[in-house]
């Protein structure tokens, strides 16, 4: 243990235990399944996890702030519905493929605006983000059903679904999008003033106020970012399916939070990283993909994922606790 902490790589691993876990499951699935270790399969994993992954990037910021956003799943459905519906409006019928642009802008704007609304309510009322976004989760889902009249929409323009399946060179576009977004948010969090303030606000809100950080507007920005990414995820998901359903994105908030927490972000705020979140997203993706290839029935997969979540966090606690100083609880 001490030796592990003494060298640099070991230290990094103690801070990001999820990557050690990824190595283990990667080796395990590579050895136990002939289809797993394959470039195509890796691309698959990236595409499959990109939806959860995009939202997790924004969620990481919100959770480091000490908040949470439970409404992301409903926002996915709303954005997907707007995306597929608006591009088929008659007003844009003569626009060719450009008819997707107003739909895309509307979907992303809706997600960002809902994020702003969540943030402003949390800021101005002081009600806990858990409650505010729980309300938003129910309310937005209701809006989706009202708006779609409980119908699924199908994209008439096949270019839209082609985009979801397209590749940039050998790599699927959605994987590229996810990787670019990951790098962008990583830089935002680790190198900008906004990122530094994100840690400060979550680490000690009172000290942040005393340091002259405008905590309320700061939190609103992060809610807008997660709203934006939820909407973007809705767009990519509908593109993959070439359709939208009002039930899209159910339980996504739980998967996203699982990934973020697996990646080492603390529910109490102040700690976390995009590298960790990326690891959490990949871990879930690899486990699902690997078990799927091994033909583990879907419900068993859930049981295993749930157990792993608890086990990894327990391990994290063991690795980071400060020996005898820790409070007995």
């Amino acid at each position: 243990m001490e030796r592990l902490k003494s060298n640099r790589a070991g230290k990094w691993l103690v801070q990001n235990p999820i990557w050690g876990f990824i190595v283990i499951i990667f080796v395990f699935f590579s050895l136990s399944n002939e289809y797993f270790f394959d470039m195509r399969n890796f691309q698959n994993i990236l595409v499959q996890t990109s939806t959860i992954g995009l939202i997790a990037l924004g969620m990481t910021l919100v959770m480091i702030n000490g908040n949470i956003d439970l409404s992301v799943g409903a926002v996915v459905a709303l954005a997907a519905s707007l995306m597929v519906d608006i591009q088929s409006w008659e007003a844009f019928s003569g626009w060719g493929n450009w008819q997707m642009l107003p739909a895309l802008l509307a979907a992303l704007a809706a997600g960002t605006a809902l994020g702003a609304l969540n943030g402003i309510i949390v800021w101005k009322t002081g009600v806990d983000a858990f409650i505010v976004t729980l309300g938003a989760m129910l309310g937005v889902r209701g809006l989706v059903f009202i708006y779609t009249e409980e119908q699924s929409f199908f994209a008439m323009n096949f270019t839209f679904s082609d985009i979801g399946m397209s590749s940039v060179g050998p790599v699927p576009s959605l994987a590229v999008l996810f990787l670019i977004a990951t790098v962008a948010v990583h830089i935002l969090l680790s190198r900008t003033v906004h990122g530094r303030n994100t840690y400060a606000v979550g680490g000690n809100r009172e000290a942040a106020v005393n340091a002259g950080i405008r905590v309320g507007p700061h939190m609103v920005v992060n809610f807008m970012i997660v709203g934006f990414f939820a909407a973007l995820a809705g767009v990519t998901l509908s593109s993959q399916m070439g359709a939208s359903t009002p039930n899209l994105g159910r339980e996504y908030e739980l998967w996203v939070i699982t990934a973020v927490v697996l990646g080492g972000t603390k529910l109490t705020g102040g700690a976390g990283s995009i590298i960790g979140t990326f690891g959490g997203v990949l871990a879930i993706g690899i486990l699902r993909n690997g078990m799927n290839l091994m033909q583990v029935p879907a419900f068993y997969v859930l049981v295993i994922l749930g157990s792993i979540l608890i086990a990894v966090l327990f391990l994290d606690k063991q690795l980071t606790r400060k020996g005898a100083e820790a409070l007995k609880t």
Partner: protein, 505 residues
């Protein structure tokens, strides 16, 4: 000490309690007789609270013995202490607000029927009996959240009476009571005394101690300083025993060239917290605010830093009237506040030393959209050298540093903002003795280099050591302003007890 005629209810013998870096109690011995009120005095940090926690089983002493009715005991936990007859009435009430009075009184020991159901009839009857003894006019089934603070305190006392209490410890019980409520409390305490309970009464307030106590003992710097019979002594003697001359601090006799007025406050009031406060601070000057907890000192600092809105009065910076609505405004105007509790209000403990120091000005340390690592490290290095911050690297999380180094980080953070006025609230709270001296020297040096500094402190030696002028506050009012040359400990004690200069002279 007088010859024993009675068995002491409680006797301590050579109690030693150390914490990392501090010897909080250094061989404290004293005894409380059955049927007496024994006051315990000492300045903040003298070890009263630690002693009480040892008595109540919250801390285990490193050395020493505790006797109840001359039987040696160990206190393993608060519940264990209570079972043996020692009960602590906390300064901060620790009641479950949403439960009834009866449930609180018997919390953890609720009477049960078969199958583990609560025996409500017995519970409420027994509680009402105790409440009657205490002359309480509320019922066992009242919800605690519906009670006033004074009544909640009665509930705490009722708890003590569920066992055959040999000794009851009151820790600053009147801190939040009105005068009428105090009278009721004192009656209850006298009643307990008449029943033969030994009472330890901790308070800062001389008048209470002289009204209530039979004997008093004084602690200073973790040492026992002696026991006096209250009727045979006076405030002067007690004060001398409390403050003493042995403290290593020197009085501030420096003569500093004062610059122009940096901050002037005229008739500032904030609701019931403080009223009509006027003072000025010049460049090169340290102004000390001294007073008891609740005298309004911290609230004035919070107002100057934009955390409270004043109800009247004006604030002038370098002669110009300013409006300060938030810390953002205060920082922009050049006011910095090193807050009272650095861990809760000053530092982000999980962040690195460097990030904490640069936090308020991070927006100015950018190249393009990115924070400039070089600029940040340069600022950290500068203040590490200037303040002698001892940390293995700038990457070290602040939470891992000692209290003194943490405080230097907070001070460094605000110096880096080059403030026009620096306010330091309780500069050395929870800091070990060596680091205290360093912080004091630092404050003096800052003044010499031209800063206008306000120091708020509850420790008299500290104020006398660092301040050029001392402002004595009592219940939200400035009672008197002293120059360092003319201030005496007695006159300062009088000022913060509300005795004005004319009466004192």
């Amino acid at each position: 000490m007088t010859e024993q005629t009675q068995t002491p209810a409680l006797r301590l013998d050579g109690i030693v309690k150390t914490f990392p870096g501090v010897r909080a109690l250094d061989g404290v011995s004293f005894e409380v007789r059955a049927g007496e009120v024994h006051a315990l005095l000492g300045e903040n940090g003298a070890g009263k609270s630690t002693l009480m926690k040892v008595l109540a089983g919250m801390h285990q002493p490193n050395e020493g013995r505790i006797f109840i009715e001359e039987r040696e005991v160990t206190m393993e936990s608060p519940l264990h202490a209570k079972a043996q007859g020692v009960v602590l009435i906390h300064q901060e009430l620790s009641l479950a607000e949403e439960l009834t009075v009866a449930e609180n009184v018997y919390l953890g020991e609720l009477p049960r029927k078969r199958w583990g159901f609560v025996d409500w009839t017995t519970l409420n009857a027994k509680t009402n009996e105790i409440l009657k003894r205490l002359n309480c006019n509320f019922d066992a089934t009242t919800r605690v959240s519906d009670l006033s603070i004074a009544k909640k305190q009665m509930v705490e006392i009722a708890r003590a009476l569920t066992v055959d209490a040999k000794a009851v410890v009151f820790d600053e019980p009147t801190a939040s009571l009105t005068d009428a409520e105090k009278v009721v409390l004192f009656d209850v305490i006298r009643d307990l005394r008449a029943r033969g309970v030994g009472i330890v009464y901790i308070s800062h307030r001389m008048d209470e101690i002289f009204t209530l106590s039979d004997r008093l003992s004084v602690l200073r710097d973790g040492n026992y300083r002696g026991t006096l019979v209250t009727a045979e002594t006076d405030e002067d003697e007690v004060t001398r025993l409390m403050i003493g001359r042995s403290l290593s601090y020197e009085r501030n006799h420096e003569h500093v060239e004062l610059g122009e007025v940096a901050l002037e406050v005229r008739g500032l009031s904030c609701g019931s917290l403080y009223h009509d406060v006027s003072f000025e601070v010049r460049r090169g000057e340290v102004v000390g605010f001294y007073g008891l907890v609740g005298a309004g000192r911290t609230e004035i600092a919070e107002t100057l830093f934009g955390l409270r809105t004043p109800s009247a009065g004006t604030i002038l910076l370098e002669g110009e009237e300013v409006r300060i609505d938030s810390p953002v405004d205060a920082i922009a105007q050049g006011i910095s506040l090193v807050p009272e509790s650095r861990k809760e209000q000053g530092l982000v403990l999980g962040m690195s030393c460097r990030d904490n120091i640069t936090l308020p000005q991070i927006g100015d340390l950018t190249t393009g959209p990115f924070v400039s690592n070089g600029a940040e490290v340069a600022i950290y290095d500068m203040y590490r050298d200037r303040l002698d911050i001892r940390s293995p690297s700038w990457r070290q999380a602040v939470g891992n540093l000692s209290g003194g180094n943490q405080q230097k980080i907070v001070i460094g953070k605000w110096l880096a903002m080059k403030p026009r006025v620096l306010i330091v609230d309780e500069p050395t709270r929870g800091i070990d003795v060596g680091a205290k001296g360093e912080i004091h020297n630092l404050i003096r040096e800052l003044a010499k280099s031209g800063y206008a500094v306000i120091v708020i402190s509850s420790e008299m030696p500290e104020v006398l050591h660092v301040a050029d002028r001392v402002i004595g506050m009592y219940q939200g009012e400035i009672i008197r302003t002293f120059d360092a040359g003319e201030v005496t400990e007695d006159s300062l004690v009088q000022a913060i007890s509300g005795i004005r200069a004319d009466k004192a002279a």
